[in-house]
């Protein structure tokens, strides 16, 4: 019973916040709604017992992608004085979203303790390993059966990094980097001069 209720709750919230993403006037609000949508999707994943995917959603999408979006949105030409003026007006909305997330956290935990929702009829090929969490199963596959491919994928990332550096790195003839030794060894008399200029004549440097 509780699973069904939480399922419909989270699904409705995903759909509603997705609608608000595209309907919000303010792009910053859109991103906040997007974060709410991601959280609800993660909660749905928890409901079906895929806690690893739920964590990935929160860490990768909320933690990295959405924050990146937020940065990009902030770079857009938005009238910040107008936004700041609306801080008090928007504060209730922010507080409301925070409250919803907080409540969901509790509801999600309660639902998770009550056991997962069964989706369709499993044929056994993708059945969960008994007594192992998702993370343990994925770890065993990644560092056991697919160790070779995992390492090879690491080489791909290395090549991507080397390639990016090869194609963009330029050694400038006179880089304007800080030369600390030169700065420290500079004496006051090299840097300052004492003059007694005539009144109204100005200084010649």
């Amino acid at each position: 019973m509780i699973q069904t209720i939480t399922f419909y709750l989270f699904s409705a919230l995903v759909i509603a916040s997705a609608c608000f993403v595209i309907m919000a006037r303010n792009p910053v609000h859109s991103v906040l709604w997007l974060i709410l949508a991601f959280f609800n999707a993660a909660a749905l994943m928890v409901l079906v017992g895929a806690e690893f995917i739920a964590m990935l959603l929160v860490i990768v999408y909320v933690g990295a992608v959405a924050v990146l979006f937020l940065f990009v949105v902030m770079m857009l030409d938005i009238d910040f004085s107008e936004l700041r003026a609306g801080f008090i007006k928007n504060a209730p909305l922010g507080a409301l979203i925070a409250l919803v997330l907080f409540v969901e956290l509790f509801v999600g935990l309660v639902a998770w303790n009550a056991g997962g929702v069964t989706l369709g009829t499993p044929d056994g090929t993708s059945a969960a390993v008994e007594g192992a969490s998702n993370i343990q199963s994925i770890g065993a596959l990644l560092y056991g059966k697919y160790l070779f491919l995992f390492e090879a994928a690491g080489v791909i990332l290395l090549v991507a990094m080397v390639g990016a550096i090869v194609l963009t790195l330029r050694h400038r003839p006179n880089p304007r980097s800080q030369n600390i030794a030169k700065q420290v060894s500079r004496r006051p008399e090299d840097a300052t001069i004492n003059t007694r200029p005539e009144v109204g004549a100005g200084v010649k440097l």
Partner: protein, 494 residues
């Protein structure tokens, strides 16, 4: 545990290449670009060592469950050993050609040869090794990406040169598209077969296929056709070949072609080996379209690198005739053709690399080759051997490759396919002979200086020319024995 150590022993070539690549990367970081020549020499030595590691596998015709590593994700059989040796040779030749060519381009007061070039080539070779040894769709994809990522950077290596940057960008955008197509096909295949393992896919995809499974098969083959630059996925080839630095073009025309074609054979005859009827007509169409478009497209070209790009498309068509036969004989014929094709390409690009015009720039225009025989007769004769061999004119070894492929098609009762292929090769002969006519019978253009290339280029050219010359027929029986073993291991199930 013994299983794991056996797996590690099978992939020893990849381990050696990766470790050498990492050490050379550190060396290039500390020693800088002035050490690039030394780093190239070490990289060539590593490639030669790996070729010797692969030789016993090929000569022994490794078979049975001993050839599988990591539960079938990696197959270290005689077939992969044959392809790997061709890849090592091509990569080593690229590294021999590269310093001399790149250092003619001066960027910021120093030559364009960078210490990272050999490192990228080594990692590309690791990727190609994974491609030819793939026993699983995931190995296939990771090998393909490792090779492609290195190749994109190599194509754009002369970053101050607009054409090179354009080649890199084009290759990257279209290569990413092809990877996406392959991934989509792989996911569909996985959905219908329930596994990414080639042998499990073979078991699941036999008999009447579901529509979705056919979609998966077609997408995978389309993506692979892109990588081997077969028509209708060939559009990127001339631009990339023209824009990339010539040693890199040599590399593209040889090693990745071998790897992608070996991979196509593994996928078509291994993973989809139970569904030959589903892909045979696709391969026949692609083969004939490649032969015809390659031959017709080359006629109007004025740049020798573009001409060789169309020539490679044309040759891929002939190779795919062997695949269309879907027999062990066809696979062996393809390997013979690949062997000859690699040496024809190396000889052709060696000639181009050794020619300089009056300004000291590399010669690329076909018109500049006019009267080559009076200025540099040795080069003109080498060019003649390459062109006649590519055209498949009998005394030269290139004829033998075409002959075995057509024989395999005829033995598989595909006489019409063979007949159309032979007729189309006559169109191809036209532009090959046109180049020879320009080099031998036209008035000298006066653009080419009689300056000889470095000794390393001469040795490579001499060896490649000896192999494609009529003397190459002495290799025939030996090559036939090896390719038969390799093809037999490809058709081994389980």
């Amino acid at each position: 545990m013994t299983d794991f150590s056996h797996s590690l022993a099978l992939i020893v070539a990849e381990e050696v290449l990766t470790v050498v690549g990492l050490v050379l990367l550190l060396a290039s970081a500390w020693l800088g670009d002035k050490a690039s020549r030394g780093i190239s020499i070490v990289a060539v030595a590593a490639l030669v060592a790996c070729a010797f590691l692969a030789a016993p596998t090929l000569a022994g015709g490794l078979m049975g469950p001993d050839r599988l590593a990591f539960g079938g994700q990696y197959i270290g059989d005689a077939f992969s050993a044959f392809a790997k040796i061709l890849i090592y040779v091509s990569a080593a030749v690229t590294l021999i050609f590269a310093p001399n060519f790149l250092n003619r381009f001066v960027v910021n007061g120093q030559g364009a040869m960078r210490a990272e070039f050999p490192v990228l080539v080594l990692f590309a070779v690791v990727g190609m090794n994974l491609m030819v040894s793939a026993g699983d769709f995931m190995t296939l994809y990771i090998g393909l990406e490792l090779n492609s990522l290195s190749a994109y950077v190599l194509a754009a290596f002369l970053r101050t040169d607009e054409r090179s940057a354009e080649a890199g960008l084009k290759y990257f955008v279209l290569g990413a598209l092809a990877s996406g197509i392959i991934l989509f096909g792989m996911s569909l295949t996985y959905g219908f077969a329930g596994s990414t393992d080639f042998m499990a896919v073979r078991g699941a995809m036999a008999g009447e296929l579901a529509t979705g499974a056919i979609f998966g098969l077609v997408f995978v083959l389309a993506g692979l056709a892109f990588k081997i630059s077969a028509v209708p996925f060939h559009m990127w080839t001339p631009d990339v070949y023209e824009g990339a630095p010539t040693p890199v073009t040599t590399f593209f025309a040889t090693a990745p072609k071998v790897a992608a074609l070996a991979l196509t054979m593994r996928v078509a005859l291994g993973a989809f080996g139970g569904a030959v009827d589903a892909w045979q007509q696709i391969v026949i169409f692609v083969a004939l379209a490649s032969i015809i478009v390659g031959a017709l497209g080359a006629i109007g070209q004025s740049n020798i690198k573009r001409l060789l790009a169309f020539s490679s498309i044309n040759n891929i068509g002939f190779l795919l005739i062997g695949l269309a036969a879907a027999t062990e004989q066809g696979a062996a014929a393809m390997l013979v053709y690949l062997f000859i094709y690699v040496f024809m390409s190396i000889a052709g690009f060696a000639v181009i690399l050794m020619l300089r015009d009056v300004d000291g720039n590399p010669v690329e225009a076909i018109a500049d080759l006019a009267g080559l025989s009076s200025v540099r007769p040795a080069m003109a004769w080498a060019l003649l051997a390459v062109m006649f061999s590519l055209a498949g004119i009998p005394p030269l070894f290139g004829f033998y490759g075409k002959f075995v492929v057509f024989q395999a098609a005829v033995d598989a009762d595909m006489i019409a396919l063979a007949a159309i292929g032979i007729a189309a090769s006559v169109i191809g002969a036209f532009y090959y002979i046109k180049v020879v006519k320009i080099a031998f019978f036209d008035e000298p253009s006066g653009r080419i200086v009689p300056e000889t290339g470095p000794i390393s280029h001469k040795i490579v050219l001499l060896v490649a020319c000896l192999i494609i010359s009529p003397l190459g027929y002495l290799l025939g029986p030996w090559l036939g024995g090896l390719t038969e073993k390799a093809a037999a291991s490809l058709f081994l199930i389980g």
